[in-house]
């Protein structure tokens, strides 16, 4: 499934860079718990507003780069906190790469 980056041109969309992953959770409590857990492990993640095209209930998402992917997702899996949906930004599109398909 693909969604196009909307709104301003891609250069202005700094929050999610090309190649970044965007993990969307189905509740504010889960996303906050996930952030706390990942930050506690000093992983390079950032809590961001969910991109408009990937409308999420709580409007928040966790962003990380390819280098951190294995550790981030391993940590979340272990804690039973896997995201509801996982996307990767490639060029102008978000491609769904995990979660409820």
């Amino acid at each position: 499934m693909r969604f196009s980056v909307s709104g301003l041109n891609s250069k202005e969309q700094i929050v999610v860079r090309d190649g970044d992953y965007v993990a969307i959770f189905n509740s504010i409590h889960r996303v906050m718990e996930a952030e706390k857990l990942l930050k506690g492990k000093r992983l390079a993640i950032l809590l961001i507003p969910a991109p408009r095209t990937l409308a999420a209930d709580c409007g928040l998402a966790i962003r990380y780069a390819e280098e951190a992917r294995a550790e981030v997702e391993g940590t979340l899996a272990q804690a039973g906190l896997l995201p509801k949906e996982l996307y990767r930004r490639i060029g102008e599109d978000y491609t769904k790469v995990g979660g409820d398909l």
Partner: protein
């Protein structure tokens, strides 16, 4: 034609200086700047405001000539108030309620601004708001992007001093109460958070 030299300045200072110079000079401005991010950011900012941009390579950098195009209307909407649109951030939290939620909402708000087409001219950070502009803040990336789009980010010096963050300011500049008071009283609109 007025000239402004922003060579050697790092982002977002070139855009902020050009914005100020355009406000003062109006019609036409020649900007000397470094190639790379400063050139790209200033060009995008000027084009976004309806200016025609001519580029030429010069010794040690680039020169951009910004000319106001016919459709560019520098006057503010409504044509009455003339000051800047100011966003006053008086806390590192948004709304009343649990601290953790308030901090999360404020971060989310600032990052969301980056995605909007209409931005304030100036963001003033006071009291615990300055924690957002200091090292360790999670919105530094967003504040830099806002600066590159012409938003002036200013933090209260007294507040930075109080929180022992004077040496740790990581986004925008320091300001004093004169500028804060003048900005608020001279603004065409103030949104307080």
């Amino acid at each position: 034609m007025k000239n402004v030299d922003v060579r050697g300045l790092s982002c977002p200072a070139p855009v902020v200086s050009v914005k100020r110079a355009l406000e003062e000079a109006g019609g036409e401005l020649r900007v000397l700047l470094d190639d790379g991010a400063p050139r790209e950011n200033v060009k995008r900012f000027a084009q976004g405001r309806g200016y025609l941009v001519q580029e030429e390579a010069t010794e040690g950098g680039f020169a951009l000539t910004l000319t106001s195009s016919a459709e560019h209307q520098p006057q503010p909407k409504g044509g009455v108030a003339t000051g800047p649109a100011v966003l006053l951030i008086g806390s590192d939290r948004l709304g009343d309620g649990p601290e953790e939620l308030g901090r999360l909402l404020m971060r989310n708000f600032i990052m969301t601004l980056v995605e909007l087409a209409e931005l304030p001219d100036r963001m003033l950070f006071i009291n615990t708001g300055v924690l957002l502009t200091a090292a360790g803040s999670e919105v530094l990336e967003a504040l830099e992007a806002l600066g590159n789009r012409g938003v002036e980010v200013l933090s209260c010096g007294i507040c930075l001093d109080f929180f022992k963050k004077k040496e740790l300011l990581a986004a925008g500049g320091v300001t004093n109460m004169f500028t804060i008071a003048e900005s608020l009283l001279g603004a065409r609109s103030v949104v307080r958070l």
